[in-house]
Amino acid sequence: MRKSFSVISSISFGIKEKCQLKFIRYVILGLLMIFFVLLPFLLNDYQLHIMNMTGIFIILSLSLDVALGWAGLMHLAPAAFYGIGAYTTGLFMLKVMPNTWFAYWLSLPFVVVITGLIGCLVAFPGLRLRGLFFAVATIGFGELVFSILTNWVGITGGAYGLKGIPQPSVGSYVFDNTTKFYYLIYFIVIMVCILLFRFIKGPTGLIWMSIREDEIASSAIGINPKRAKIEAFATSAILSGVSGWLFAPYVSYLSPSNFTTNESILVLTMVVVGGRGTIIGPISGTLLLLLSTEILRPLMRYRPLLYGIILCVIIILRPQGLLGRLKK
């Protein structure tokens, strides 16, 4: 028999062990915290920009992991919801409430509601399909969003994109450089991680996992599988939207080419390489993929080759992902 990672509680540990473990965990978390707070002073502006994009992509890959890793839905359009979130923020700041400092913060609830609603609208008919068929349907949705962003010139600016999204500010304090954005983005990343952790380690996560493991058994204990799946998909959509909300003012220029299916596939790779069904997995996958492209930069044109080799080696040696859970 094997000990298991318990969702509801770790009753497998004695009190003393538990305290020790907690202590070690806090120490590690504290050190990490200090490292992340000091990071802007160690890096130059470009490197910090990479870190910021990594943060945005961490939220994106976590959002995909909710659908893919926990609820077992083959969701291949996180970039579409990322785009919807980013454009909603941009349009809100430019057209609905221009020249007010709180427009940015006010746009967050709008992003959450809009991406959540669209997530439900996609999932409701879409989840009549299963597995790969659902995956193809979501790719279709991703393309649909991309073509709307490209062709609805009157609102989205079409292929020219949405220019001049103002920087967020609190009163007169403006987030006007990479360092300030760094703190903002990683604050949101940590918040998302904490909330997601609570969600996943609670009954909701348990239900999503039970749907993933066995739909018939779940419905036999009274769980409505359709509803649980729609909830998971909508949660995923909302988190993608939140990463778009961070992305829009950070780059201040949105173009449809940021939200193609290619981006979705990149995020998918991050989740699979890092490890599905965990929180640390997608984070590590994102860090590996985005940072390795930068670290391998001196190799010039051999870079994609080495990048590909790294991915292959990881998938062969650790099919459950870099920091994924050990499966039988």
Binding site: S10, I11, S12, P203, I207, M209, I221, G222
Partner: protein
């Protein structure tokens, strides 16, 4: 006067019968590609009764359970639960009404711990919202703690409490069977459908299972059990229904069934006479 009394007592008996029939299947029929797996079967279950459904392989026993829980949709017929027509209710609503089941080939959440498996059955009865889960409100924490204790109680009753933190898929087969029953009990059912609880477990273990089932019946549960293991079935059940090739061929007390010619013929072969 005398006549009147007799009539009223008959009415009372009739009413009582309706009340005590907690689950009733009327002429349920299901065919797969033209072959009738279950054909016009009438079965009822009284409150507090253990009913056994037996029959040779392919008799349609498991199909019957899948029809009751609407995992397969009925072609024809009606199903009543406590006098309520539940014929086309979706599976999760049937479970919420109080019909729990186990599966022949075990459908556990294998990667999760034993405790999580049982806990998942309490999800439906939890009242705290997702928002309170996000903010870890006191009420949410209390509720989780309460249901965790309930889950541990259920595990204790089924005798696998000390394995609560193990991965469900790594348990011995007999324990997995017990775990599945414990999970089914987590939904607080009125009727428990057990599909082959004795397959693949030893005779001492099945003794324990018999005691467990009697205990459950004392608590007021009505149980339908499918089984191959005749000694086990004869020991526990109050009434037996025999199916063969989708038809009900006999019904009655264990003694009656043991001497029924049609049943013996179905089991040992011979001229088909349905």
């Amino acid at each position: 006067m005398c006549n009147n009394n007799l009539a009223s007592s008959r009415v009372i008996r009739k009413v009582k019968e309706v009340i005590t029939k907690i689950l009733e299947l009327q002429e349920v029929t299901k065919s797969f590609a033209g072959v009738a797996a279950v054909n016009k079967v009438n079965i009822y279950l009284k409150e507090g009764e253990i009913l056994a459904v037996i029959g040779p392989n392919g008799a349609g026993k498991t199909t019957l359970f899948n029809l009751i829980t609407n995992i397969y949709h009925l072609d024809y017929g009606q199903i009543y639960f406590k006098g309520r027509n539940i014929t086309n209710y979706p599976t999760h609503l049937i479970s919420r009404l109080g019909i729990a089941r186990t599966f022949q080939n075990l459908r556990l959440l294998e990667g999760l711990s034993v405790l999580d498996n049982v806990f998942s059955a309490f999800y439906v009865s939890m009242k705290s919202t997702k928002i309170s889960c996000l903010f870890h409100t006191g009420r949410y924490k209390r509720e989780v703690e309460y249901f965790k204790q309930r889950a541990l109680e259920l595990l204790e009753e089924s005798g696998i409490k000390e394995k609560a933190s193990y991965e469900a898929g790594s348990l011995p087969y007999a324990d997995q069977k017990l775990l599945e029953i414990a999970r089914a009990l987590g939904t607080e059912p009125k009727v428990l459908l057990l599909d082959e609880p004795t397959s693949g477990i030893s005779s001492t273990e099945s003794e324990e299972l018999i005691n467990y089932l009697f205990k459950l019946r004392e608590k007021g549960l009505s149980i339908i059990v499918i089984g191959h293991h005749m000694r086990f079935i004869m020991k526990i059940c109050d009434r037996i229904v025999v199916l063969n090739q989708g038809y009900k061929i006999a019904e009655g007390t264990p003694e009656h069934i043991q001497n029924d010619e049609g049943v013996i013929r179905a089991y040992l072969g011979g001229e088909q006479n349905v």
